[in-house]
């Protein structure tokens, strides 16, 4: 059993580790994007300029300094919570990220919920019915959905449900033609959210379904289940009351890890659907070699991965007290 003292120790240790990991990822990103071919000045400064002009622009953004000096200045600025200035937006990086974070949270949150619920239900369905046909169908579908590229699924959904059937918009987060407010705005966003959220949730649903099924079957083989079963419980009650809680640890771990990666994994979906989130932002910032913005986006993404992993460990330990907090 973990006492409060050890929980505090655990938290401090993990938080320190988290800071180290995020700092490492940030420095690595900074160095990688700087040594990658390409130069932000082409996008920043426009074409047809003369050499003096390009030199002035380079100096203005500190791009004429050595990589080590740029890195030093960046790290010391971040330590003062200053994420720098975006070349693309000509605005502070923090405010750009703040503008884009809600869209990613909405999309990621929706995908996480839809994917988890759908996956859990599908996994339960396999084990509950005990039907080999249902089981086979779920496993097969899950394999296909897990393997299919997100951009392909998304494009198919757009062509069939948006362009052909006209049921959903083809992209964006709100209707461009008219401005909506209040509840109508919420409805508009939900309407636009449906396709990207489903697209992003499918791989998660697929893997949750498979893991749920496997975990349930594992627990079903435990002696205590056979004993409970012998006491005359129905299969459904047995599953929900006794098997499911014991099978949840791998599922929670999976969903937790996935949550942390949503910001990164959402990039393709966001680009495909014109969804104005952080993933889309990171993608375009890297194409524009917007160094401060790319680095900050990866800082944010790695921080969210680390935080969700910590939360996952805590939840798992709470679900199954035998798991030590390390």
């Amino acid at each position: 059993m973990s006492g409060t003292g050890t929980i505090r120790q655990w938290f401090v240790r993990r938080a320190l580790l988290a800071v180290l990991v995020v700092a490492g990822v940030t420095i690595l990103t900074f160095v990688l994007i700087h040594v990658a071919p390409g130069d932000p000045i082409y996008m920043l400064a426009g074409d047809g300029g003369n050499p003096a002009y390009y030199a002035e622009m380079r100096a203005r953004y500190g791009l004429d300094r050595s990589l080590l000096e740029q890195l030093g200045r960046y790290v010391s600025a971040v330590a003062r919570l200053d994420l720098g200035y975006s070349f693309m937006f000509q605005a502070p990086v923090a405010s750009v990220l703040r503008d884009h974070a809600p869209a990613t949270l909405i999309l990621g949150g929706a995908a996480l919920i839809v994917g988890t619920v759908a996956g859990l239900l599908a996994g339960l369905l396999c084990v509950m019915t005990g039907s080999r046909v249902v089981d086979g169908a779920v496993r097969w579908t899950a394999s296909v959905l897990y393997a299919a590229p997100v951009f392909w699924i998304g494009q198919i959904l757009v062509i069939t449900l948006a362009v052909r059937a006209g049921l959903f918009p083809a992209g964006g987060m709100t209707t461009a033609r008219e401005a909506t407010v209040g509840l109508a705005w919420v409805g508009d966003v939900l309407w636009h959210l449906a396709l990207p959220a489903v697209t992003l949730s499918l791989p998660l649903a697929a893997v949750v379904a498979r893991v749920t099924r496997a975990a349930l079957l594992d627990v079903m083989r435990e002696p205590f289940v056979i004993a409970t079963s012998a006491r005359g419980f129905t299969r459904l009650r047995l599953l929900l009351r006794h098997v499911a809680p014991n099978a949840m640890v791998p599922v929670v771990t999976l969903v937790g890890q996935h949550a942390g990666q949503i910001a990164a994994g959402a990039a393709l979906t966001e680009a495909l659907f014109g969804w104005p989130g952080v993933g889309y932002l990171a993608l375009h910032a890297s194409l524009h070699r917007d160094y401060p913005l790319v680095t900050a986006a990866f800082l944010g993404i790695s921080a969210s991965v680390v935080v969700f992993n910590m939360m996952t460990d805590a939840v798992c330990a709470w679900l199954d007290p035998r798991i030590p907090l390390t």
């Binding site: 082409y42 000509q90 964006g172 409805g187």
Partner: protein, 533 residues
């Protein structure tokens, strides 16, 4: 009247069966569109960032700001200057002095009067410092800008310069308000967030990565214009998505259509697919291949001529460009009609001639049929071009490897590091050869910076001719110089001109009046009489 929601509720209801019942009630109960004015939705490929057109050439900023601001002059369909903020002008002193009479009564969107001080400020503090093309052209040329009174501006030049007027439209020289910018950073200061212009539309709001909205300026100096009440620029970075949105009715206008989407769009009766030759991103562009002239084999003109004969440009136009353009014959697009001449050495598709030229240049056919191994460095949109070139060049014994980079990296490799055999660029001529043609061929523009003379071509005669061509305001004298330039360059083939591009725009036929040759392309857009968006 705007009534696109008349058939929408069914769609919405179906959709909301998936989403939420509560929302359905809200949606159908409080329809926001009753009496809604005419709104045009334009697909926009990227975020504009700061909204100051006088400090950037960005193709993400200008399509928006060119509707909000004005130049001293506009450009008509032949790209000839017409009055805009300047009502009239005179060229004095043999082309050394340009005197502009400004249009009286013009007001900025905040109500302040527009005066000559705004023009002087814009040039001295923004255009000549930060607008890359305008600065490169006019730095050292402008001796001073005088403002004898509120409605007169005089440009004093160090030498006669004929193409000045073509450089003063909204794309090359948008005029910004002095009273707002003075004391602010013109690159990123507060006024760049809420742009105030003199143009047909006023800025309303901007949600990054989502949409930017502008609305009709009721005080616009051209009475009765514009016709549209609102324009929404919807940011859709993915070109395939933009076309999907157009088909789905979420968007009304798309500025670029990928070839494979063309047949489908053309088959839709509600869609107009029209060639546009200009606009904010650049006018009269030519796609060219850039040979590295500083080393073998392209240092030898025979190899360049062989390559030119080996390429079937008509086939490229048909298969790679899906008919969007015409095979190019030289360094000036045929669309720049006054300056263009077809009377130059031509390179018809002729693999046999190409083979003979290669043999004479010292590249005879090897036993395996090959003669030369070269690499084509290109950006992400030119795989198809690369594959077509590889097929055509194989026939003359040139084995072409394709080196695909992202846009930024390909520009750096070709123009800055210069580690390439053959590169690619889309060079835009602009409204005058001096704007976009000169920079590609003059030796003074060889250097490690983007979209310069990347081939490294040096010819003193060409340098002189380009200078002479700007000294005369008489078009006939200028035309003769440009004809000489085209003849010399076609003999030398320092670049391989593939296609005079005519990119296609697609829009719903319910709208009409797009001015597809200029940046200010929305000023006269209106609903067609039967128009029901």
């Amino acid at each position: 009247m705007y009534n696109s929601l008349s058939e929408a509720p069914i769609r919405y209801q179906l959709a909301f069966a998936f989403a939420s019942l509560a929302v359905l009630a809200a949606r159908c109960g409080g329809s926001p569109s009753v009496g809604h004015p005419v709104t045009l939705v334009v697909a926009q490929s990227g975020d504009p960032g700061a909204l100051n057109p006088a400090v950037t050439t960005s193709g993400s900023t200008h399509p928006i700001t060119d509707q909000i601001f004005n130049g001293l002059v506009g450009l008509d369909q032949q790209l000839e200057p017409v009055p805009e903020l300047a009502e009239s002008w005179s060229i004095e002193d043999g082309g050394r002095t340009y005197r502009f009479k400004l249009r009286p009564g013009v007001r900025w969107h905040d109500g302040a009067p527009f005066t000559s001080a705004d023009v002087k400020f814009t040039f001295e503090h923004a255009l000549l410092k930060y607008h890359s093309r305008t600065r490169a052209a006019l730095e050292g040329l402008i001796a001073g800008i005088d403002t004898p009174d509120d409605l007169t501006v005089v440009f004093r030049l160090t030498r006669p310069y004929a193409p000045l007027l073509q450089r003063l439209d909204v794309v090359e020289a948008s005029i910004i308000p002095r009273h707002l910018y003075e004391g602010h950073d013109v690159l990123s200061g507060e006024p760049t967030r809420r742009p105030i212009g003199t143009g047909p539309f006023r800025f309303v709001s901007y949600a990054p990565a989502d949409k930017l909205i502008i609305e009709r300026n009721p005080e616009y100096f051209r009475k009765g214009l514009p016709y549209l009440e609102r324009v929404v620029f919807r940011i859709l970075p993915n070109a395939a998505m933009a076309v999907s949105a157009l088909e789905a009715g979420d968007v009304d206008y798309v500025g670029g259509v990928a070839g494979p989407d063309l047949p489908r769009l053309r088959s839709l009766k509600e869609m107009a697919v029209v060639a546009g030759t200009g606009g904010s991103g650049g006018s009269l562009c030519q796609d060219v291949l850039i040979p590295n002239l500083t080393k073998a084999p392209f240092a030898d003109v025979r190899v360049r001529r062989a390559w030119a004969h080996a390429i079937d440009r008509q086939l490229l136009v048909d298969r790679v460009y899906f008919g969007q353009g015409r095979p190019a014959t030289g360094p000036i697009s045929h669309l720049l009609a006054w300056a263009y001449t077809p009377d130059v050495r031509q390179y018809p598709h002729d693999p046999d001639e190409a083979g003979r030229l290669l043999t004479s240049a010292g590249y005879p056919e090897r036993p395996d049929g090959g003669r030369l191994d070269l690499t084509f460095t290109h950006g992400p949109n030119h795989q198809r071009l690369g594959q077509a070139l590889r097929e055509q060049l194989k026939a003359v014994g040139i084995a072409l490897s394709l080196e695909s980079r992202d846009f930024n990296a390909s520009v750096e490799q070709v123009f800055v590091k210069k580690t390439f055999d053959v590169g690619f660029a889309s060079f835009c001529n602009g409204a005058d050869p001096d704007i976009g043609v000169r920079r590609v061929y003059v030796s003074s523009n060889i250097g490690p910076y983007p979209f310069s003379n990347g081939a490294g071509y040096r010819n003193p005669r060409i340098d002189t001719l380009f200078d002479e061509a700007t000294l005369h305001t008489d078009r006939n004298l200028r035309r003769a110089r440009y004809a000489d330039i085209q003849r010399i360059l076609a003999d030398d083939v320092p670049y391989f001109w593939l296609v005079d591009s005519e990119p296609l725009r697609a829009y719903r036929k319910t709208y009409t009046g797009f001015r597809l040759w200029t940046g200010a392309f929305l000023e006269t857009v209106a609903l067609t009489s039967s128009g029901k968006p």
